[in-house]
Symmetry: C2
Subunit: 376 residues, 2 copies
């Protein structure tokens, strides 16, 4: 049963935590947040503590006063979470699932084991291992652990790229000549109730591997769309995860859907749900971990999302150029992440654009992308 | 030009301030809030200071470190605000306008002076004055100052009600046999740009004079709707107010629109804009006081709003009954105000319901009203 007295802890105080806190205000829930950065985005809007998320004692200490503990980043100490779980704290997503997802090698084996469609892959231990598998190219080489926001991923098309390989445990994955990159956010509460948000499509920055534009809903046939949702729901049900799960997928040129990777938390591909859907991904995550009924995921209006990255060549206190111009555009929602300092390609915020006219939506998204700049 | 470094102060830390703070998070603006109650709703989500809003020194001290100072309640010290204004702080709404609105006697005279349609009235100084004007009944008797949330208002239908009259300066206003109560929120920035939200209609609790249901948009002819907006815009332009202004109006049985009263701040009649409109009243207020372009006020979807009042007969730590049931309903958005203690008829939160089917919208609103209860 809902109680505003439930003590909820969040590991990680970045923008995802920030938007989770912002959503929790509606339920009178004062979230407690742990982050190593004393200036993390959650700092001034939550009960904020500074500490290392990978340190067992710190995480255990932080979590033991919570009724429910959740994450906004996967790189956290699992041993502490398992201890807390044994001590009766509800840890959602469950620690053993975070452990699976933390390591892309284990994650990929999980898909294989449960017949979830995914690109073929080879486990590699060292750089030499990657070089040995030259026959497998073109491929994507990913570090098993600690990849983040495009880091820890290298595209190795030909022999001449082999030098980029990581000399650490990873996977070598067949490069998929995909038609589109899709994402579906699914949710599951403790009762086992599940549901899926509409499928969205993303356009990535060609070099920095960050989402540049997102469109919701994706332009897909009903069949493909249902297939994508079905696969995403299969993943969360096989994992028996409590919380939300963002499932990133490739739609191949021959209409196949392959799971790329998943994130057991609010995700960049769900920001637009704040304005465009009946329930936001943040509220859905809270509903799931508090065992409340899941909210309706339907769209109120089509939307696009543009990440606001620090402009290349600028480092220092952030200044937003073009703000007035974009605020003049109808249906524009600016979200800044509380970061005072900008760096090249740092995620400083995002903008959601809502418009029932898809043509105008696209034009507005491009206008926002080209107009709003983070400089210093 | 927009800067995330702009220091904004808010006088009042109640639910309106809380939702303003929640909205300001999107712009990286850390709001500083002053409220006499150490447990005010804004307490844990802002830079919060405890102090008397009617004390000149306290308000002056609080305001002098701000670039922009605003209010979420009208009962504030005007002398301090006028000093701050002279010292270069941007005080929006402007102090002389708050002063007009604070006193219903001056407010009414303002309407008269500018030919803004409003119910006929008589200024009264004492209870004896009211009794003397028995020929004016049936009437509504209002205290000039310090009325709030239904307090300070008495309906005096016949001679036998005369004993309820306040023995203090007030107004005696002709009781309007109205068809509907309407409200329009309008905004104006420093550049003088203005716009209006769609007209909403309200149903009040018959005894406690608090909004029970709100429907947006109101069911009105286009002609009446345009007339209501035009009058509301006239009020904000005549006042030359910077910020938002909620204009409450009566639609009389013969299609006339009369201004009842105004509030120069976010208002109970605009909560639903958070989910249902392109721009929320809170963001609109921020845009107006920061001299940013005003946002599009259009609706994304029709909505209803239900105030969540403390159940009669319960005082103490709040417990929410029926939360699971209402959260199961599609399009329901619960907003709790961060109040730990409930009292009979205390405003503890509100629920917005969005549905494009107007029939279902009404049913859902009634279901929410009858299901979600604040007890202790």
């Amino acid at each position: 049963m809902f109680s505003q007295e439930t003590k909820i802890g969040v590991l990680g105080g970045g923008q995802l935590g920030r938007m989770l806190v912002q959503s929790a205000i509606n339920f009178n829930l004062d979230l407690k947040v742990l982050d190593p950065d004393p200036n993390a985005p959650c700092k001034s809007i939550s009960q904020f503590e500074v500490g290392n998320l990978k340190d067992e004692a710190t995480v255990h200490q932080f979590g033991k006063t919570c009724d429910v503990l959740t994450i906004e980043i996967e790189a956290v100490n699992i041993a502490a979470l398992k201890r807390l779980e044994q001590e009766g704290v509800k840890v959602f997503p469950q620690p053993h699932i975070i452990e699976i997802i933390q390591d892309k090698r284990i994650q990929k084996q999980f898909y294989k084991q449960y017949n979830i469609p995914t690109a073929d892959f080879i486990l590699t231990e060292t750089k030499a291992d990657v070089i040995k598998n030259v026959h497998f190219l073109p491929a994507v080489h990913k570090l098993g652990k600690d990849g983040y926001d495009g880091r820890g991923v290298q595209i190795i098309r030909t022999e001449s790229d082999l030098d980029k390989a990581f000399d650490a445990p990873g996977i070598l994955e067949k490069l998929i000549p995909f038609e589109k990159e899709l994402a579906v956010i699914v949710a599951r509460n403790e009762k086992g109730e599940v549901n899926a948000f509409p499928v969205v499509e993303m356009a990535f920055h060609p070099v920095h591997n960050l989402v540049e534009y997102l469109f919701a809903p994706a332009t897909l046939s009903e069949e493909i769309s249902q297939k994508a949702k079905k696969i995403a729901l299969e993943v969360i049900e096989k994992l028996e995860l409590v919380g939300i799960l963002a499932v990133e997928m490739f739609l191949t040129k021959d209409g196949e859907i392959l799971v790329n990777e998943v994130a057991p938390r609010p995700h960049n591909s769900g920001h637009q749900t704040i304005e465009a859907n009946h329930t936001s991904q943040y509220e859905q995550h809270l509903r799931a971990i508090l065992n409340l009924p899941l909210g309706d995921t339907a769209e109120k209006i089509p939307s696009a999302m543009v990440n606001l990255l620090g402009e290349d060549g600028f480092s220092g206190p952030a200044v937003y150029e073009g703000m007035d111009e974009v605020l003049k555009v109808s249906g524009v929602h600016v979200h800044l992440y509380g970061k005072k300092i900008t760096k090249p390609f740092r995620k400083m915020g995002h903008v959601t654009i809502c418009d029932s006219n898809l043509e105008k939506l696209r034009e507005k998204a491009i206008f926002v992308k080209n107009t709003l700049k983070v400089k210093s």
